[in-house]
């Protein structure tokens, strides 16, 4: 034993090993203790916030709760295992939320993967006609407002995040790469150009294709501008996506020769394609009298109603 240690032992008044017991209790109960601490912290911060407004104090809170002030003091020490009833009372009296339970969501991430040059494929065979899906919606806009305010209000909810609970199977992530963009058509029909009409209709049409051999999905977006159902401007563009092989296999049912593509993936790929189409329209109409017509923000999720099951014929 060292000299110093020997001297300290003689000087030390006693031992106090209770920290270890206290630590064990704290750590053993950490899950509910953290909640209790959180609630106490929230209550304390709220009392301080309300004090200059309504004179709130721990004593006032006790009176409103119908409990002794000592009880509130215990609660704000963060060591009480509170009942739901007590928590609800605190929430009601202080006007705050202490426990927030959210709806369950199933979410999956879409990753963007780089493919090496030798994996890029410029052409692929489309699946048979029975494998295509169509979705269509018309929007109406007031021309005076320069297409800012749609007549159908739900058209302008911006595309935000992917939360889909219709994902089939256990696929959690689908990797894809943009392989090709094509301007399928661009047409201006001057005879149908609007003169005095205020209402312009914009039609959005989505068409999907799939190739089993290439493991690719194609999205075709057609945008038509029309007055009284007469089209005066049409643009169609397509984006072709290569799906990560392993993820493709997760979507494919080899027995039935079917590919099930969830709505969420269709919406995501269609949104990319809408953006591409918007850009192509802008580029094509720049410095012309048609430049004022642009493809507005659309809620693709409202247009594509469900996923698609592509049925490949045995040759595909």
């Amino acid at each position: 034993m060292s000299k110093v240690l020997d001297k300290i032992k003689k000087i030390a008044s006693n031992e106090d090993y209770s920290w270890l017991d206290e630590a064990r209790v704290r750590l053993r109960n950490k899950a509910w203790r953290k909640r209790s601490f959180q609630i106490a912290a929230r209550i304390l911060v709220e009392i301080r916030r309300q004090k200059p407004i309504n004179g709130m104090t721990q004593k006032m809170l006790a009176e409103k709760m119908g409990v002794a002030p000592q009880y509130i003091n215990k609660v704000v020490k963060g060591k009480e295992n509170l009942t739901l009833e007590t928590i609800a009372k605190f929430e009601e009296i202080l006007g705050i939320t202490l426990i927030n339970i959210t709806e369950p969501e199933v979410q999956y991430d879409l990753e963007i993967q780089d493919f090496a040059d030798d994996q890029k494929i410029s052409n692929y065979q489309e699946a048979s006609d029975s494998s295509k899906g169509y979705f269509y919606k018309i929007f109406k806009f007031n021309q005076e407002d320069n297409f800012k305010y749609p007549i159908e209000d739900d058209s302008f909810i911006p595309y935000a995040k992917l939360n889909r609970n219709d994902l089939l199977g256990k696929v959690k992530a689908i990797g894809f790469a943009l392989n090709k963009i094509t301007t399928e058509q661009f047409a201006v029909i001057e005879d149908n150009f609007p003169q005095d009409e205020n209402e312009i209709g914009i039609g959005i049409n989505f068409r999907f294709t799939a190739s089993k051999s290439q493991k690719m999905l194609g999205v075709f977006t057609t945008c038509t501008f029309q007055v009284e159902e007469k089209q005066f401007l049409v643009v169609e563009a397509s984006c072709h996506f290569k799906i990560k092989p392993q993820d493709w296999e997760n979507l494919l049912n080899n027995e039935n020769n079917e590919l099930t593509v969830p709505k969420g993936l269709l919406v995501h790929l269609a949104t990319i394609t809408v953006g591409t189409t918007r850009g192509i329209l802008h580029a094509k109409t720049g410095n012309t009298s048609f430049s004022k017509y642009h493809l507005p923000i659309v809620n693709v999720g409202n247009i594509i109603e469900e996923g698609i099951v592509f049925k490949f014929d045995n040759k595909a």
């Binding site: 110093v4 300290i8 630590a23 750590l27």
Partner: protein
């Protein structure tokens, strides 16, 4: 003041006059006390918002302290319950020198990887005898600039003087310097 043995063979803590608990227990009690923390962070709002800690306010600071204290306690509990708990070789790894110069004061360092504002201060004598003198929530770079951390410096000096007075060490020079 008194010296109290807290765990292992060589870890001690001071219990100051007027306090019911030794510094080691007192600190963990404080760091788990929402009422104390709410008052403290409300008083030190400016240091919280100073930029380095990137907190969103008092509530966030309180929850962080809870987490930091839990991590620290977990680490020390492992040490106390380990096979070598008698000699506590792990203490050397978690204490570091307070000043970047010749000094005999050490701060308990939670982890090199994580930033935490919790500090435990100790004096080390010979190779492996530690005396905890106090601790603080340190929100500023220098201890001297805030009264509560400045107070810890005063306690450190007071304990050093006490050790010399009690003849536990003959002079300051016998306290080894250590860098971790």
């Amino acid at each position: 003041m008194e010296i109290v043995h807290i765990f292992g063979e060589c870890l001690y803590a001071i219990k100051y006059d007027g306090e019911t608990k030794n510094e080691f227990r007192r600190l963990f009690d404080l760091w788990n006390d929402p009422e104390y923390l709410e008052d403290f962070f409300n008083e030190h709002q400016k240091d919280l918002n100073g930029g380095f800690w990137n907190t969103s306010g008092t509530f966030d600071a309180m929850m962080r302290t809870f987490d930091y204290a839990e991590q620290l306690e977990e680490q020390l509990k492992k040490l106390a319950e380990s096979k070598n708990s008698k000699h506590l070789p792990g203490l050397e790894a978690i204490f570091k020198n307070l000043h970047n110069s010749q000094s005999s004061v050490y701060t308990l360092n939670l982890s090199k990887a994580k930033a935490t504002w919790l500090r435990i201060y100790a004096l080390r004598m010979e190779k492996d005898v530690y005396l905890i003198t106090g601790g603080a929530i340190k929100l500023t770079l220098l201890m001297e600039v805030r009264s509560h951390t400045n107070e810890e410096l005063r306690k450190i000096k007071m304990c050093r003087d006490y050790l010399l007075k009690q003849g536990i060490v003959d002079h300051d020079g016998l306290i080894e310097e250590l860098e971790i």
